[in-house]
Symmetry: C2
Subunit: 137 residues, 2 copies
């Protein structure tokens, strides 16, 4: 399941993607528009900035705007940024790999192979969902 953070991040990106080109959105606008607690959203936007999905302008008339195309921001990336691994166990993960503590030998893990298949399928599906694809007509 997605955390609220990840869900709010997607909704915020969706909000930004629906604005006119060159429009800068204040946190409070996004919060109201996408129904997200404002102070919580502040943190999320900072994370999105660190992840290079958005950039910001400080001071009066400042705010946030997309710096990555809405066609190139995928659910997979947002999941990884906020909720970590896409795989079901760390030992089956590409980006968050860790060995199992309870598997005797490295290749002894009985679940690893099957979970890597799941990871590949899920990842492929999640890479197919972009912010653009979520915008309904």
């Amino acid at each position: 399941m997605l955390s609220h953070k990840a869900k709010y991040a997607l909704k915020a990106l969706l909000y930004l993607a629906e604005q006119d080109e060159n429009h800068i959105s204040k946190t409070i606008e996004i919060a109201d528009g996408a129904n997200i607690p404002k102070k919580f959203l502040e943190q999320i936007l900072l994370d999105l900035k660190r992840g290079r999905f958005v950039s910001s302008k400080q001071g009066k008339f400042g705010g946030y705007y997309l710096i990555k195309s809405k066609n190139e921001i995928t659910l997979a990336e947002i999941h990884r940024l906020f909720d970590g691994a896409i795989a079901l166990l760390p030992c089956a993960s590409l980006n968050f790999y860790e060995p199992c503590s309870d598997c005797k030998t490295e290749e002894e893990c009985s679940l690893r192979h099957g979970l890597m298949l799941i990871r590949d399928e899920t990842l492929k599906a999640m890479q197919g969902i972009t912010i653009a694809s979520l915008i309904k007509k």
Copy 2:
């Protein structure tokens, strides 16, 4: 990610599936064989019993045994029993549906449609992974 409970459940089922037909396995055997804390495993086996994956014999020489074919126990079922919904949000879930609290109208949820696509893909993949398929030769 899978909880330890779900991971241990899979390993325990795998252990049971590898035993001879009609063999009854004590909790301690499974715990030692699959490297799972014994008291924790007790709870997990009870959950698996309530879920009709295994049955048990009480008293001396008692233990646990599979009552569902290893070809018919899927990762999807174990995930749902221990970790709940497979979908990334409750509003996109088949078995654990709940409406979003932060989406204004029911059909307003911008994420629901995309997440249902992911759910279908993930579910299909998870239904393809059975205990039998995890047993390596």
